[in-house]
């Protein structure tokens, strides 16, 4: 069991720990990894190496492009058959493992999320090509389920053997008359899941968005981007929007349908939660339709209130603003009550967080609300703008790994009914008042001085961090869960929420506070040491002589 440290007087300079960590690395590795570690100073800009290759042999948290494309972005959409073209594993591992909850409109409405579809490529498909099998699989899926859309996802061998999923998709779309489209999301592309997000964004934008120009409904229409409904987060946000009278046209992609993506370009505003995974869609919608986007954050009671207010401010409607304030007042009272009960029990506890491309930032709000201290944090697959803010985007060096991810060229729609001059005007007007659009400040400005920022943290680094900081809580994913816990430090999974949640919105904040109470106030960790550890006559000083 680790002994806890006291940082109430401020965090120590982490430079020695950085040095100690890299001392174990071969020099090239050390040099590279050092660039990914920064002693934070919220007052100044410091570059963090991010979105670069993981060094072979390093035990990393990262997954692959396929995981980002199929697993993260397309996975949560229920009314599409996501057909994985490849050997069985890729489809198997992405089968129900991400807790994207979904609630079909009716008991018989389409929902393929409990299913795993694969072409299960065999030896001969690798040797002779898999296009014929892929076509037949699409036909069989159509025959069995009659879906309105099929997405085809490429796994590693597909590109290498020359299977053209896009051509196959086009052919089958023509043959069957339903929407079919492919993704070149082979696992080796890019350096992490991030490439997959981009590929998914592109694919949806190209093949789905704008397919249905249905008339607008409701006064205030938005899309929520980058909310994947882990543990029911989206349900909680849906509840809030509905009560406020804001029409949530589409969520990308928690509790979503391709049907709604098709008319998601008819909204007034895009609210981006997970900047890393979905900012592309927001950008492209603005370029094509003139729809502005703002960054939102619904993790934490205050963040939720702030984001709701910002949305209401955008629409500038007295009734809406009043309703939103009413909701905030009511919900924050509940949040405060729980917080007041729990905060004294967890205040001052140390947390560290290495996860995803958004949560490692957002969850700092929740810890702040509880008076906990985030001593170190980093993303698994973010880019520099997620750390430092979007103002560094122009400075980001595009390397070969990123370059080969398609960058769509978007042009303004030529349908005058779809191009939103009104919104362009509104944006300009609001910006004058200081309202921030297309803005994300990144994680680092929010973090304490001398907190340690590490991108793509490795197992070795994780061990060292625990040794040094002796945190009360570590946040990461399933691969890290038991590694960290074996050291006597509880780990909260921030991908799967450890099968808890929701943690978004007001109810989510309450749930998270309670979860912190459970994890940090318990005595179970005191069971770890045997009581005879401290009784010398029992441990080993006696010989077996009976």
């Amino acid at each position: 069991m680790v002994k806890k440290k006291d940082y109430s007087a401020g965090l120590p300079d982490p430079t020695p720990i950085i040095d100690e960590i890299i001392s174990k690395y071969p020099s090239k590795v050390a040099k590279k990894r050092k660039k990914a570690m920064v002693a934070n100073d919220p007052e100044i800009d410091q570059p963090v190496q991010a979105n670069v290759r993981t060094i072979p042999g390093i035990i990393t948290q990262r997954g692959c492009t396929y995981a980002g494309c199929k697993g993260v972005v397309l996975g949560p959409t229920r009314d599409i058959i996501n057909l994985v073209h490849g050997p069985i594993g890729c489809s198997f591992y992405a089968w129900l493992t991400r807790r994207n909850q979904t609630k079909p409109e009716t008991e018989t409405a389409e929902n393929y999320m409990m299913y795993s579809f694969s072409t299960d490529m065999q030896d001969e498909n690798i040797v002779f090509g898999g296009e014929v099998k892929l076509k037949e699989a699409i036909r069989e899926a159509y025959k069995l389920f009659n879906p309105k859309a099929i997405g085809v996802f490429s796994t590693c061998p597909v590109g290498l053997i020359g299977d053209d999923v896009h051509a196959v998709s086009r052919d089958m779309k023509e043959e069957l008359g339903i929407n079919i489209f492919g993704f070149s999301c082979e696992g080796y592309r890019g350096v992490s899941q991030s490439a997959g997000h981009h590929i998914a964004n592109n694919g949806i934008f190209k093949h789905v968005v704008g397919n249905n120009d249905r008339p607008r409904e409701g006064k205030f229409q938005i899309n929520l981007l980058g909310e994947y409904n882990i543990g029911g987060d989206a349900f909680e946000l849906e509840r809030l929007f509905e009560e406020a009278g804001i029409t949530l046209v589409s969520t990308y992609s928690g509790n979503s349908t391709v049907e709604s993506f098709a008319y998601s370009h008819t909204v007034d505003l895009n609210v981006v939660m997970c900047h890393r995974s979905i900012n592309y869609i927001a950008e492209m919608m603005e370029e094509k339709y003139g729809i502005p986007w703002i960054k939102g954050n619904f993790i934490g009671g205050s963040s939720t209130a702030k984001t709701l207010r910002k949305v209401a401010e955008f629409f500038d409607d007295a009734e809406l603003i009043e309703k939103v304030e009413e909701i905030i007042a009511r919900e924050e009272a509940k949040v405060e009550a729980v917080k007041a009960a729990i905060k004294p029990k967890v205040e001052g506890k140390l947390a560290m967080m290495f996860v995803g491309g958004s949560r490692a930032h957002h969850y700092q709000d929740l810890f702040e609300e509880l008076g906990m201290l985030t001593v170190s944090a980093g993303y698994e697959f973010a880019h520099r703008d997620d750390y430092e803010g979007r103002h560094v985007i122009p400075d980001i060096k595009i390397d070969a790994d990123t370059r080969n991810i398609e960058e769509l060229t978007i042009t303004k729609t030529d349908n005058p009914e779809l191009w939103r001059d009104d919104l362009v005007a509104k944006k300009a007007e609001l910006e004058k008042k200081g309202y921030e659009f297309s803005h994300y400040a990144g994680m680092m400005p929010q973090m304490k001085k001398n907190s340690l920022v590490i991108d793509d943290v490795s197992h070795h680094e994780t061990e060292k961090l625990i040794e040094f900081y002796k945190p009360d809580l570590f946040c990461a994913g399933i691969k890290e869960k038991y590694v960290v816990q074996k050291s006597g430090v509880p780990l909260k999974q921030l991908h799967s929420y450890d099968y808890g949640g929701p943690y978004a919105g007001f109810e989510g904040a309450i749930n998270f506070y309670k979860e912190m109470e459970r994890m940090l106030v318990t005595n179970v960790w005191n069971l770890v040491d045997t009581p005879w550890k401290s009784e010398p006559e029992i441990v080993g000083s006696m010989t077996i002589n009976a």
């Binding site: 174990k24 690395y25 071969p26 993981t54 060094i55 072979p56 042999g57 390093i58 035990i59 990393t60 948290q61 990262r62 997954g63 692959c64 050997p87 069985i88 594993g89 890729c90 489809s91 198997f92 591992y93 008991e107 389409e110 929902n111 393929y112 299913y115 795993s116 579809f117 694969s118 072409t119 299960d120 490529m121 030896d123 690798i126 099998k133 699989a137 036909r139 069989e140 069995l144 796994t155 590693c156 061998p157 590109g159 290498l160 053997i161 082979e186 696992g187 080796y188 992490s192 790994d401 070795h460 061990e463 994913g477 399933i478 038991y482 960290v484 074996k486 050291s487 006597g488 770890v528």
Partner: protein, 460 residues
């Protein structure tokens, strides 16, 4: 309905797999390698493979699962992965200091034609492998076989790499374990000990994937077959290999390379398969079966005769791996249960042959299928056509069980929504008792909950 689009109407599918009853090779290679002490598995492919496999194993065992990856990028895919692997070997030995790196390939590295043997030879030649350390490799293309094949291939590589025949014969028996739980491996050792036989068990994930909470993370936990043990296998009297799909290659390798003859057996699940295992061990080790083994067996048979009425005639659907399914079917038949549907995504023509042997004149009562076209979707369709009283398989069976309200026994890989499997064995006679306890619990609970009030029984 969770699986609302599944209907009883089958179509003739040739290309589309829905809800697979298998996964791919590398995860098996990773699991097998974890059963060697001081060994770090290494995935030669994209990061995603390693991440998925570690996640899958972690969810099943709720334990740290350490493994490294070659972290392929587009460049490596085009130009070959040799540079990645060489760098990985260097990095791993300096940062994570294992005794062994066990490299397995992936569909990616196989498709581009990376030659692991050659790359590893180069690593050795280049001095990237410190003295006394080892790099072993297995070819595990994801598009051939299944997770079981990967386990098989890595196990074979382990044995081939280490076992050496010397002039000094050893009074010991090699025990090659199929893909079973750490608890089962522990049980195999307990049984060997009761029999008074010194065995070398490979792989051995006990004390690796059921490690205690001590407040200290161990990168290389206490368990796993040690290098000296592996080396000594070439001098053993006999090999007892359990689970043909998982261990045959290793058994043959020991025979070919070291002239250690082998018995190829089923996993000891149920009475008869355990009987064969005990007899094989007895003969291999030249020891009599001790009374305590007879007594454990007798307790299992006692439970069968006591509770026969609850088993009799109950229809069962099963999915999983051939090594488990075959002796499990045999066991269910011994209980007078009716294995009605059996599905495995793992290919192998001997499966059908063995099923016919086991079922004998009852072969017509069972629908079964294995290989690339056999999946859980079809199993579910069969169940829709005619129901069963019990479903046995991994966690994914839950969705069928909840929809169809079928009592559901979790066995196989992965089990990610319950714990206990890694602590309590299902192999051997005591394992048989555990299987029966679980089956009875399920069937009796079903009876309790579904009986009209006047039919609820106090005594059962």
């Amino acid at each position: 309905m969770l699986l609302r689009h599944t209907t009883e109407k089958e179509i003739d599918r040739k290309a589309l797999t829905i809800n697979p009853a298998k996964t791919c090779q590398p995860v098996g290679a990773m699991y097998a390698a974890l059963g060697v002490h001081g060994c770090l598995p290494h995935s030669h492919g994209s990061q995603g493979c390693c991440s998925y496999h570690r996640s899958a194993l972690t969810r099943h065992y709720k334990e740290p699962v350490m493994a490294a990856t070659s972290s392929f990028t587009e460049g490596s895919s085009v130009f070959g992965g040799q540079a990645n692997l060489l760098q990985a070997i260097g990095t791993i030995f300096s940062v994570y200091d294992p005794d062994i790196i066990a490299v397995h390939s992936t569909c990616l590295s196989e498709t581009i034609g990376d030659d692991l043997k050659q790359i590893v030879a180069k690593a050795n030649a280049d001095g990237k492998v410190p003295d006394g350390k080892h790099v072993i490799e297995a070819s595990t293309p994801s598009y051939v076989g299944s997770h079981v094949t990967g386990y098989h291939n890595m196990l074979q590589s382990i044995v081939q790499h280490f076992a050496i025949k010397t002039d000094e014969a050893k009074r010991q028996v090699n025990l090659l374990a199929g893909w079973v739980e750490p608890s089962d491996m522990r049980e195999l050792k307990r049984i060997s000990k009761m029999m008074g036989i010194k065995t070398v068990l490979v792989p051995d994930t006990s004390d690796v994937l059921d490690a205690p909470m001590t407040g200290k993370f161990e990168m290389y936990p206490k368990g796993g077959t040690t290098i000296p043990e592996l080396v000594s296998m070439g001098d053993s009297m006999k090999t007892v290999a359990i689970g043909e799909w998982a261990t045959k290659g290793a058994a043959i390798a020991l025979d070919n390379n070291c002239k250690v003859p082998f018995d190829m057996l089923d996993l000891p699940i149920g009475v008869k398969a355990t009987d064969r295992f005990i007899m094989s061990l007895s003969k291999a080790g030249a020891v009599a079966v001790p009374e305590e083994i007879d007594r454990e067996r007798g307790r299992l048979v006692d439970m069968i005769t006591d509770m026969h009425q609850y088993f009799y005639g109950k229809r069962v659907a099963l999915f999983g791996d051939p090594d488990q399914l075959l002796p499990l079917c045999e066991f269910l038949l011994d209980l007078d249960m009716v294995p009605a549907y059996v599905v495995s995504g793992t290919p192998g023509k001997t499966f059908g042959k063995r099923m016919k042997e086991i079922f004998g004149d009852k072969i017509d009562q069972v629908k079964f299928k294995n290989g690339a076209n056999a999946d859980m979707f079809q199993l579910h369709q069969w169940i829709k056509q005619e129901g069963v009283d019990l479903l046995i398989g991994n966690t994914y069976g839950k969705y069928i069980a909840l929809d169809e309200k079928i009592p559901f026994l979790r066995m196989g890989f992965p089990i990610v929504d319950r714990v206990g499997h890694s602590y309590f064995p299902t192999l051997g006679y005591m394992g048989g008792i555990r299987i029966l306890e679980k089956i009875l619990d399920l069937l009796m609970q079903y009876q309790d909950e579904n009986s009209p009030e006047e039919k609820v029984e106090l005594v059962m």
